[in-house]
């Protein structure tokens, strides 16, 4: 057997493409949901960290530290295999979404915090001096400015979350990777794995490029 028919076997690829695409949609759904929930969760955590009462601040600091330290796979396995002992039984999809969201929130919280802290103090003071509430100050003044700072690292984090969805195959979620390994076993040929890798690249390469563009643009405007 030559390299091409082993790794790039078109027949195999075509036969198993529907299986792979099914996995791809699940991967996208899981990644998208976890990213969005992580963006919201992180914002809530960042607000608690910056403006909450002392006990809330310490809770958030603890949460962020723990979930940045724990390996994603370990936490995912705990959510799926250990929580049922507490009577909490989640589907593979729900387990993966929960685990990814909780960890992503810890990272986005730190990104938001850094972004908000990068806004000059005078902006907060000017907003306060006209009587804005903390909520209005954030919505109208601080976050619109912080967004420019946080978009590149948030996009980076989103890429990581999207990549980490592959770990869900461990808890039997039929995501892109799981479908590919299954197809590989059925076909007795590794082409589906290569196909999956290419689909991951098609999904993520544009995002990687996007971050580069953001960073270049931000660097330019910072220099101005």
């Amino acid at each position: 057997m030559d390299i091409v028919s082993t790794f790039f076997n078109i027949d195999v690829l075509v036969r198993y493409m529907p299986l792979l695409l099914e996995g791809l949609w699940r991967t996208i759904a899981l990644g998208f949901l976890s990213i969005v929930l992580g963006l919201i969760g992180g914002l809530v955590l960042a607000m608690g960290r910056l403006y909450g009462a002392a006990p809330i601040r310490f809770l958030v600091i603890g949460y962020v530290d723990v979930f940045r330290a724990i390996p994603v796979l370990v936490w995912l396995v705990i959510v799926y295999y250990a929580l049922p002992f507490l009577g909490i039984r989640l589907s593979p999809f729900a387990s993966a979404a929960t685990a990814l969201t909780m960890i992503s929130s810890a990272y986005t919280a730190e990104i938001y915090r850094a972004g908000i802290e990068a806004i000059p103090r005078g902006q907060f003071e000017a907003g306060q001096s006209i009587g804005l509430s903390t909520f209005d100050l954030m919505r109208d003044v601080i976050l619109p400015q912080a967004i420019r700072i946080v978009v590149p690292p948030l996009t980076n984090n989103s890429i990581n979350v999207m990549k980490d969805t592959a770990l869900a195959s461990v808890v039997a979620m039929p995501d892109l990777l799981k479908q590919a390994t299954q197809a590989q076993a059925l076909a007795a040929n590794p082409t589906p794995l290569i196909g999956a890798a290419i689909l991951y690249l098609i999904l993520l390469l544009p995002l990687v490029r996007l971050v580069a563009v953001f960073e270049k643009r931000l660097g330019r405007s910072a220099r101005r």
């Binding site: 000059p120 000017a126 907003g127 306060q128 001096s129 006209i130 009587g131 804005l132 109208d140 003044v141």
Partner: protein
């Protein structure tokens, strides 16, 4: 001069502010009458900014009390009420770069006074006309000169119709040729009956507009005087030395 009523609109009693161990304000007492224009003078680091920033609680203080319009200035419920009544103009302008000039001015009335954007923008235009930059309304702050930006800063403060205006060195960040246009706007406010506390290094201007001069040094009020008396015959040695330094160089 505007008519000054007797009732003090600001009362500071024994206000002490510490940064760590350092005392930036040492038991400061000051009363300001409604409609009065008070200019704070003193060497750099004497606590002028700290004093006026305590009035709208941009700085918290450790001891004493501040009463503004009958409301105790402290954290909590009353704080936003005080901030609605007290406008502030900053040395560094601190305009919101993400909003147009017009919306910088309209934001406060919309969010705090619950005015509609339409009504607030209409009023904002009037205010911008009043400070002489009506034609800049739809630009962003970064597109304006320093003097124009500071006039937006003043319009933004005025939009809340404050009873008290605080100015912290409003012209110190400006190129010399733009100082005049901002001082003109401030002078125009003097007769409007708004109580004003102004920190400035523009001595001629201070003498012209002040009802009283408050001279500070090392966190203390060393002298409170009528401007003509202060500039010709200050009672404290410290004030004399300060005037010597600023007027003869």
């Amino acid at each position: 001069m505007a008519k000054i009523e007797d009732k003090p609109i600001i009362q500071m009693r024994g206000v002490t502010k510490r940064f760590g161990k350092f005392e930036a304000l040492k038991s400061v007492d000051l009363e300001v009458a409604t409609g009065e224009v008070v200019v704070l003078l003193g060497p750099s680091g004497s606590g002028k900014s700290t004093l006026i920033r305590c009035i709208n609680l941009l700085e918290t203080y450790e001891d004493g009390e501040i009463i503004v319009d009958g409301i105790r200035v402290e954290e909590g419920r009353a704080l936003r009420q005080v901030r609605e009544e007290v406008g502030m103009v900053f040395q560094a302008f601190n305009l919101f770069p993400n909003l147009t000039v017009l919306d910088n001015v309209a934001l406060g009335p919309v969010r705090v006074r619950k005015m509609s954007w339409d009504a607030a923008r209409k009023r904002a235009r009037t205010l911008l006309e009043r400070v002489g930059i009506g034609e800049q309304a739809d630009k962003y702050p970064i597109q304006l000169s320093g003097g124009q930006q500071q006039r937006v800063g003043i319009a933004r403060a005025l939009a809340m119709e404050p009873h008290i205006l605080l100015f912290d060195e409003p012209t110190s960040a400006l190129d010399p040729e733009m100082v005049g246009e901002v001082l003109d706007v401030i002078r125009g406010l003097v007769d409007g009956g708004t109580t004003m506390l102004l920190v400035t290094h523009e001595m001629g201007f201070a003498r012209k507009i002040a009802d009283r001069i408050v001279f500070m040094e090392a966190g203390e009020i060393k002298e409170i005087a009528d401007p003509d008396i202060f500039f010709t015959n200050p009672s404290s040695e410290r004030a004399r030395a300060f005037l010597d330094a600023v007027l003869n160089h």
